[in-house]
């Protein structure tokens, strides 16, 4: 399986989009306020990882997808990809069974401020096997 890690500056795209939509899609759930993404992730940067789903934690306060994928040096790591809470995801057509261990996925997002954590917040997901994707629809955002 070929894997790659691309790191490029995404400008302020996500930083501009998130405030514009956050009030529009705000749902009745305190998990939105759990912690600040801007403080946890470098929202001015974007990385893409491609690998195998190890675990999908569909839960409050935030869901997580754990993916076995290499870093930019080709070294394999267990990446922690932060996603929305179940209330938001359910409204966006995502359920506990949407991702399964063994799925090959390509995920783009903002990396954590500490590179050693190998974490990112999900902005776009593609499962090449069946073309399932999340993040193309303007409503598929969270905070």
């Amino acid at each position: 399986m070929s894997v790659r890690v691309n790191r490029r500056i995404a400008g302020r795209v996500f930083g501009l989009l998130v405030p514009a939509v956050v009030l529009a899609v705000l749902v009745d759930d305190g998990a939105l306020a759990h912690h600040s993404f801007a403080a946890t992730y470098n929202e001015d940067e974007t990385i893409t990882i491609e690998g195998t789903v190890l675990q999908f934690q569909f839960r409050n306060p935030h869901s997580f997808v754990h993916v076995q994928a290499p870093d930019e040096n080709g070294e394999m790591h267990r990446w922690a990809v932060e996603w929305a809470n179940p209330s938001q995801l359910t409204g966006q057509g995502v359920g506990a069974a949407t991702l399964k261990p063994g799925d090959v996925v390509r995920i783009t997002g903002a990396p954590g401020r500490d590179p050693a954590d190998h974490r990112l917040v999900l902005r776009y997901l593609l499962r090449p096997a069946d073309g399932y994707e999340y993040g193309n629809d303007p409503n598929e955002t969270f905070d």
Binding site: A39, T40, A80
Partner: protein
């Protein structure tokens, strides 16, 4: 029953004469008598019952998405709070023991939430014994006792929502809360102590509810911290009252690790001040930096930075 407000001198108190007091008391007695003669609900309280949802036009960025690290503005934090906040690593929320930790009482109303409020009445005389609240965020319950009972002694168990008593001041419900667990005032790591006390004012106008908090903390605040937020009555009610939090290994780490920074080692502490071009001294300045009199100091700091 005192409400824990700071013991500042009341202006003009020393100037009230005996004759003035008599005139005031006579006027109040006359007004009180007239009120009793009026038909209907002259003494009835406003109804605060219902399901309320927050409006976040005030302090949106801080209360909803959050900003970069190092935002300490608008909080009268003292040196102890500064040291704590500088050592705070925001990724600490990923620690197993912290993932499902509720916000405490003065913190929970600042974030997105809905709460349901209702009256509990004495079945014998229909007097209101308490107001109850159920807060969907972290599934917290509060009781505001209206029956004049005293607060427990200081060493009694503390809870996330604390122990609350209330009274009506005209159409304003004023609540006093003690015995609150230690937590944070802001997600930037400004701590709150277990000696925190809070005075709240619930002010309803139509379907809008203004909620004002006056927070006193002898450990981490140099003066009372005043916050306000607005809520609106939900006509159709909320559909999501559950917050089933589950402890998982969010980010692979040693389970005994607690993210933190040693003194002077926090690389992100100036992120907020740099983002907005503010002097860091002003951002972490506490009460001194919160008042208009501080403007010349900010100008001087900015000029120094420019040089």
């Amino acid at each position: 029953m005192t409400f824990g407000l700071p013991a500042t001198g009341a202006p003009g108190a020393a100037g009230v004469t005996w004759l003035g007091s008599l005139a005031l008391l006579s006027s109040l007695a006359l007004l009180g008598s007239l009120a009793l003669l009026l038909p209907g609900s002259a003494l009835a309280q406003l109804n605060l019952s219902g399901e309320w949802t927050g409006r976040y036009h005030e302090d949106t960025d801080d209360r909803v998405p959050g900003d970069v690290q190092g935002d300490f503005t608008g909080v009268p934090l003292n040196d102890a709070a500064r040291r704590y906040a500088e050592a705070f690593d925001v990724t600490r929320v990923a620690v197993l023991e912290h993932q499902c930790q509720p916000y405490n009482m003065p913190h929970i109303y600042r974030g997105p939430l809905q709460f349901r409020m209702w009256e509990e009445k004495d079945p014998a005389n229909q007097d209101i014994i308490a107001y109850r609240q159920y807060i969907g965020t972290y599934m917290q319950s509060r009781t505001i006792w209206m029956d004049g009972r005293p607060h427990p002694p200081g060493h009694a168990p503390h809870t996330h929502m604390g122990f609350s008593t209330g009274r009506w001041n005209g159409d304003i419900l004023t609540v006093y809360t003690t015995h609150i667990k230690k937590e944070f005032y802001r997600r930037s790591g400004i701590p709150s102590s277990d000696l925190t006390t809070v005075v709240e004012h619930y002010i309803r106008r139509g379907n809008l509810l203004s909620h004002v908090m006056i927070i006193t903390d002898p450990v981490y605040l140099s003066e009372p911290y005043v916050l306000s937020q607005e809520f609106v009555l939900m006509e159709r009610g909320n559909t999501n009252w559950l917050y089933n939090c589950e402890y998982v290994m969010e980010v692979p780490m040693d389970k005994n690790d607690v993210p933190h920074y040693l003194p002077g080692a926090n690389p992100f502490i100036t992120d907020f001040s740099e983002k907005f071009g503010l002097p860091f001294e002003a951002v972490i300045g506490g009460a001194e930096a919160m008042y208009p009199e501080y403007m010349p100091r900010i100008e001087a700091l900015i000029n120094e930075q420019a040089r």
